[in-house]
């Protein structure tokens, strides 16, 4: 029964979605207010219906209703409750429903927080969101229905993929989808603006916090995925350049470019057509990612159940969405010329250089991901493009970004003197170069590591310089009062935190990959081995029973000198649902370093092989993105966005630099 209610709710949501995608659009075109206003209750109804469908799926999982094929393949009676709940998004069908629920959630939020927008624009934005939703719901109903029954129902489910039975993996997809799907808001905004044929500053300002929030979620989602890979996959890697990872990284890079170009467009009115194009690309890449992950054209360790029919559907959907959006752009974008005036040496220019680099980085990943497919399609042979390629091309592409990040935020809008900026950063620069040389001489770091560390410090210096500029800029009151005022500027503080996050990330990557130590050893119980000043003593392996697995748990004591630091418990788990054992690493986490032990195989003499790892600053790899996400959320809460919501939309910014009446801006 519960399955049928869920299925019915999905079908009704589909119907509502079609209404929301068409009626308000026609209303906006014909100037019919009540048709336009229909979008708002429709968004609410759609969200409510999908929430019901989602609830039904969760109930089926919690109640072990194995008559639903999806539940039977992805859950079991022994699965702990937490993982039964998260199993709902553990495979293709359910994760699509979650995706759709989140899309409807964003639509609902937009419907209720967009009162300040002109009615036609609001109607168009909501209709575009619903158009995307219509495609996805059709896709689910046609090819991926999570409520499908199997008869007779099995008594026991096949259990959730053991890899996904981890807290990090339970939280990773919802966060990631919040980001992926959140990019629909700037996309809908861009398409609506193109349909409208006009674009004023208030709308730019309105879309900025939405984009930033979506970006923050995407950042946090990718971070969690990386952290999960580190703790669950068992060999201490944190990024594998796997197609599925790339699928999330491409939209992230474009969204990062977008939040920067929105800054130029919103604050200075410049390069608005470019911003629109980025908004279109951002969501298009998240659709492309969905296609790559779920269609089976690419081989990935993240094995989603793949099906060619799904691939064809998504490919057509992708072509329709991207094709029509780009067509619209080609027809209308010429009308959005920039208005702000700026010199070559100005913050605007540097933000655009940032955009060029980020988009090129994203294009590089796309190239590397699709290149083997192209060659194969051309019958030119099979090649593999993997981590060594991406590492080789990605670092030279992103290094200039890091250098830019150190000083560009200090450059003033409109125009600045290169000399002023240089003088402001002269002493930090000298200091950092000296520190870099010091690191090279005093530590085992190679010159590349020292240079990279100096880069991270350079970014920190830029952030500090920005703070100093702000404090100096305020004339009123004493230092504390000025400091308080500056702290209250959430946009600025958010930006500074996010940039600090980049510095942490660079330092983390540099030291983990450059100075990390990894040793494979073979130890008998009682034997010990020394590594980087620590003694690892292997105490032995004992059995451990889990709810749906049996485990062999190793005990490794770690000493520094004679003083015990910690005990690690690496495991080898055998889940009842599959024969292959899974490694569960024993990790001692620390701000400065992680100790990581993974258990290998038992040998005839009772010895075990294991991998010991010392990973300096590895936590910074996730601390950095965490700071970025927090910074993004802070920036989205800046005071002026709230103010602009209450104010009437500001007068239309004219095209081509003159102020013209709003009527003449419409292109039709």
């Amino acid at each position: 029964m519960i399955g049928e209610i869920g299925h019915l709710a999905m079908i009704l949501a589909f119907a509502v979605c079609i209404v929301q995608a068409t009626v308000p659009l026609v209303g906006a075109w014909r100037g019919n207010r009540s048709w336009m206003a229909l979008a708002i209750p429709a968004a609410g109804a759609q969200f409510a219906l999908l929430a019901i469908a989602w609830l039904c799926l969760e109930i089926a999982f919690v109640a072990n209703d194995f008559s639903l094929a999806y539940v039977a393949t992805n859950s079991s009676q022994d699965l702990p409750l937490v993982y039964r709940i998260s199993a709902a998004w553990g495979a293709h069908e359910g994760s699509m429903l979650l995706w759709m629920l989140i899309l409807a959630g964003w639509g609902f939020a937009v419907a209720h927080l967009s009162g300040a927008l002109p009615a036609t624009f609001r109607a168009r934005v909501l209709a575009v969101i619903a158009l995307a939703g219509t495609g996805f719901l059709l896709f689910m109903l046609a090819t991926s229905n999570p409520f499908e029954r199997i008869l007779p129902a099995p008594l026991q489910g096949r259990d959730l993929n053991p890899l996904l039975q981890d807290p990090g993996m339970a939280a990773h997809p919802p966060l990631l989808y919040m980001g992926y799907v959140g990019l629909v808001v700037p996309f809908a905004f861009a398409v609506a603006a193109l349909l409208e044929g006009r674009l004023d500053l208030a709308w730019m300002r309105w879309t900025r916090p939405w984009t930033t929030v979506a970006w923050a979620f995407l950042t946090a989602g990718i971070m969690l995925g990386s952290w999960w890979a580190y703790s669950e996959l068992g060999w201490g890697g944190w990024w594998f350049w796997d197609p599925v990872e790339n699928a999330s990284f491409m939209p992230w890079l474009v969204a990062t470019a977008l939040i920067h170009s929105l800054a130029v467009s919103e604050q200075r009115g410049a390069f608005r057509s470019w911003t629109l194009l980025l908004a279109i690309f951002g969501f298009s890449l998240s659709l492309l990612g969905t296609f790559l992950v779920r269609s089976g054209v690419l081989v990935s360790v993240h094995a989603f159940a793949t099906d060619p029919a799904r691939g064809v559907f998504i490919l057509i959907f992708l072509a329709v969405v991207i094709g029509s959006a780009l067509m619209l752009y080609a027809l209308r974008a010429a009308h959005f010329t920039s208005v702000g005036r700026f010199d070559l040496f100005s913050r605007e220019t540097f933000l655009l250089v940032n955009n060029v680099l980020l988009v090129a980085a994203s294009a590089t990943i796309l190239l590397g991901t699709l290149y083997p497919l192209f060659l194969d399609a051309l019958d030119a042979g099979k090649i593999s493009v993997g981590p060594p390629y991406f590492n080789a091309v990605f670092i030279p592409l992103t290094l200039p970004l890091a250098l830019l990040l150190g000083f560009a935020p200090l450059v003033r809008w409109k125009g600045d003197g290169a000399k002023r900026v240089f003088e402001a950063l002269r002493w930090p620069l000298v200091l950092i170069i000296l520190v870099g040389i010091g690191i090279f001489l005093a530590s085992p770091a190679s010159w590349a590591m020292a240079a990279s560390s100096a880069c991270a410090l350079w970014i920190v210096a830029g952030v500090a310089g920005g703070l100093r500029d702000r404090l100096r800029h305020r004339r009123e009151g004493g230092f504390f009062r000025r400091f308080q005022r500056t702290i209250a500027e959430r946009g600025f503080i958010g930006m500074s935190l996010a940039h600090l996050g980049v510095a942490f990330f660079i330092a983390g990557v540099t030291w983990t990959s450059g100075a990390g130590v990894e040793r494979d050893v073979r130890l008998l119980p009682g034997e010990s081995v020394d590594m980087v000043g620590h003694t690892f003593r292997f105490e032995g392996v004992g059995p451990l029973a889990g709810p749906n697995y049996r485990s062999q748990q190793g005990i490794v004591q770690v000493f520094r000198g004679d003083e015990p630091i910690t005990t690690l418990f690496p495991e080898k788990r055998t889940y009842f649902s599959q024969l292959q054992p899974m490694t569960e690493a024993g990790i001692e986490a620390g701000f400065w370093r992680d100790l990581h032990v993974a258990l290998g195989e038992e040998h005839a003499d009772g010895a075990w092989t294991m991998r010991l790892q010392y990973k300096p600053l590895v936590r910074w790899i996730w601390l950095g993105p965490l700071l970025m996400a927090i910074g993004g959320l802070l920036a989205a809460g800046d005071r002026r966005y709230r103010l602009s919501l209450r104010r009437q939309p500001s007068p239309v910014l004219a095209e081509g630099g003159s102020s013209v009446s709003s009527r003449s801006l419409q292109t039709h």
Binding site: W235, V301, V353, A360, T364, V385, D520, V521, Q578, G600
Partner: protein
Amino acid sequence: MSASNAHPFGLKGPRAFGAGSILFEIVAILAFALFGAGPVIATQGDLFEPRDFSFPAHEERYLRMINSLRCLVCQNQTIAESDADLATDLRREVHRMIEQGRSDEEIADFMTARFGEFVLYRPRLRSDTILLWFGPFLFVGAGLVLLVLRLRKRKDALRWSTSGSVRKRARRLLEEGGVRKKT
């Protein structure tokens, strides 16, 4: 990840090699026969089998090599990450060749002679991979050139639009527009 090789060859289905090519199944099976037929084969490969190196530089090269060779029977993993038998054998082979003093290029040749270019995660620079290797730098270069051109054009346009006669013309047009709005 270990889950990828529940089947002896790690083959989950006909699509395990992306394009589902029979050729690769054959290659994989041949490879298994070639390397896996010795008497010292455990039922499962040991990912963390310790190895001795005569020079520290050898270990560095070994790690670099195994991290850039594809495990052909896995979903999408290097031989450094897979405990499939084939990966285990290839790791052993790489270790042996490095200890024999063979160069990276010789090892890559050895691998591609048996498994094709598909085994290299870092494609060699050849006529059909030129775009792959230089594409990224092309993107940046083209992007920067376009940007500079746009900025220059803008500057000219702005200079032109601020000259006196144009301003006068613009004002006249504006006024006309205002009149039209009233009617």
